[in-house]
């Protein structure tokens, strides 16, 4: 397989991404705008069922002016960052521990399978019973949601480090700790990067769901209350922000980070 000898810089990739997508993006936005506008103008009571793009834009200007939008937006982002950071900080070492110790892995594996099948939404009621409608509740759900994907990915990452690397380190006299530090940890870096991206993706969904059910502010809360308050513009605005934020985060931060790690560790050409 062909391989590039130089890793392209973040700026280069960013530039390339924009160049390729610029034209498509314009067509897409214009197309959606027209279909949306026309549909909105044809239905009865558009303010209730489908406000026009202009109405949504005006509402966003209004909310920006009142300072609500920046406040909701930052609330949600802070929750994502705090919740998923704790989730990753706990999940990565846990995955490593499971990866190196078969006894620990065998003990915890059924438990991991159990919890992975119980989604973040499904644990909501019990968390609300314990912590009420609070920030803690939302954080706990984000943490729960991001913990298992990363732990699982890191576990398989450690397992997939070729045994010959471990043997080589052993014959050079490496201790268990040195094998961990010099072989298993760097060997599972690409998995850690992929798993982090996966976990943050799950966490982002959990933030919105969490705010809808237990929050008092944030984007999730905004779209949930918009439904009751008959503010459909805010519901649509919130949905757009949720999607666009993730695309920006993923394309410009998480994916390049993942690609860089995988390429830099030289594991891409297998």
């Amino acid at each position: 397989m062909q391989q590039k000898s130089k890793t392209p810089s973040l700026a280069w990739r960013l530039n390339k991404l924009l160049q390729i997508n610029a034209m498509n993006l314009v067509i897409l936005i214009v197309g959606v705008y027209f279909i949306w506008s026309i549909t909105s103008s044809l239905i009865a009571n558009p303010a209730r069922y489908l406000p026009s793009p202009i109405a949504v834009a005006l509402s966003s200007v209004d909310m920006l002016y009142k300072g609500l939008l920046p406040s909701y937006f930052s609330d949600t982002l802070v929750r994502l960052v705090v919740g998923s950071s704790i989730g990753l900080a706990a999940g990565i070492p846990f995955g490593l521990l499971l990866g190196i110790n078969r006894t620990v892995a065998d003990t915890f594996q059924p438990m991991m399978n159990f919890f992975q099948s119980v989604s973040g939404i499904a644990i909501f009621p019990i968390v609300v019973i314990w912590w009420g409608n609070s920030d803690t509740t939302v954080l706990v759900v984000i943490l729960y949601t991001s913990f298992f994907p990363i732990a699982y990915t890191v576990l398989s990452g450690v397992r997939e480090v070729p045994i010959r690397y471990i043997h080589a380190a052993k014959t050079l006299g490496a201790s268990r700790y040195q094998i961990m530090k010099d072989v298993l940890l760097p060997g599972s870096m690409p998995h850690i990067a992929t798993g982090s991206r996966l976990s943050i993706g799950f966490a982002w969904r959990a933030v919105i769901a969490g705010e809808m059910l237990a929050g008092r502010e944030g984007l999730g809360w905004m779209i949930f209350t918009g439904q009751d308050a008959d503010k459909t513009t805010e519901v649509i605005l919130g949905m757009i922000l949720i999607g666009v934020t993730w695309i920006v985060l993923d394309h410009f931060l998480l994916r390049p980070l993942e690609a860089d790690t995988i390429e830099r560790w030289g594991l891409v050409q297998r």
Binding site: S5, R164, H167, A168, T171, G173, A174, S175, G266
Partner: protein, 266 residues
């Protein structure tokens, strides 16, 4: 230390292991006795499945053994250790470390002072001909260069004995003969004691001072062939006219082929 004191002693070593799929006990090695002296290059050759790689793994400490003893410098082998460096068949250099970092890894593990370590690493980079590739990553190297890097990493850690497990089996024929000549030159330069496992008769005869021919499974030492060719004369261009090389190679070939036919008849 007395030159006649063996560096490596193996006495009455036998090995059985359960087959991965059937669970039936496989008899891999039977009553192996051998001694390797300081500065000697010994090759082990035999039909596939004769247990020669098993022997190397036992000596490397990567495989536990139950019957017999094996010791290096008088220390019984109980696990892997830096006194026995291993050059693996497959590329076992770490892909996330540069050439220099890979070669210095053994010294790093032993907390060698950085200045001293870097000087030593430079010496071994030069010795194996990787000068100019210090900062390259393994995926930027050819197969032959990866193996040179492995040899340098092993030697840089200064083991008592270097164990080599078919190290040139995966490289192309041209690179292979170059690597063989270079190993011979490195053996002169470092006076390192080397155990070299191979299935190539030519390679075994070209490199070794003594060649241990293994029988088909269970592996036993069928014969020890002495190869009296001064190390300085070991260049492939000379070998076709070297009577000692031709004689020993043919003898080893005959011994191995007997075993191969026994193995196929079974």
């Amino acid at each position: 230390m007395n030159a006649m004191t063996p560096k490596l002693i193996v006495e009455g070593l036998s090995h059985h292991y359960p087959d991965e799929y059937t669970g039936v006990s496989v008899h891999a090695l039977e009553d192996i006795n051998l001694e390797i002296f300081e500065g000697e290059l010994v090759s082990v050759v035999g039909p596939s499945g004769c247990g020669k790689s098993t022997l190397l793994n036992i000596l490397a400490g990567l495989l536990p053994y139950s019957v017999g003893t094996a010791s290096v410098d008088g220390n019984i082998i109980e696990g892997p250790g830096p006194d026995r460096g291993v050059v693996f068949q497959e590329h076992a250099i770490l892909p996330w470390r540069t050439v220099a970092k890979n070669i210095g890894h053994g010294l790093e593990i032993r907390n060698f002072p950085q200045v001293e370590r870097e000087a030593r690493v430079r010496d071994f980079i030069n010795l194996v001909g990787l000068t100019g590739f210090e900062d390259k990553y393994p995926h930027e190297l050819s197969g032959g260069m990866k193996q040179r890097c492995q040899v340098a990493r092993t030697l840089c850690a200064d083991p008592v004995i270097m164990l080599m497990d078919e190290p040139f089996a995966a490289v192309d024929a041209q690179t292979r003969i170059t690597l063989q000549e270079e190993l011979s030159r490195i053996a002169i330069a470092t006076k390192k004691t080397i155990l070299f496992i191979t299935h190539s008769v030519d390679e075994a005869a070209f490199l070794a001072d003594r060649c241990f021919v293994f029988s088909a499974r269970p592996g036993r030492i069928k014969k020890i062939v002495d190869i009296n060719i001064p190390r300085e004369e070991r260049i492939w261009a000379n070998m076709n006219s070297n009577a000692e090389f031709i004689r020993t190679r043919d003898e080893i070939l005959r011994l191995v082929r007997e075993e191969v036919s026994i193995a196929t008849e079974e």
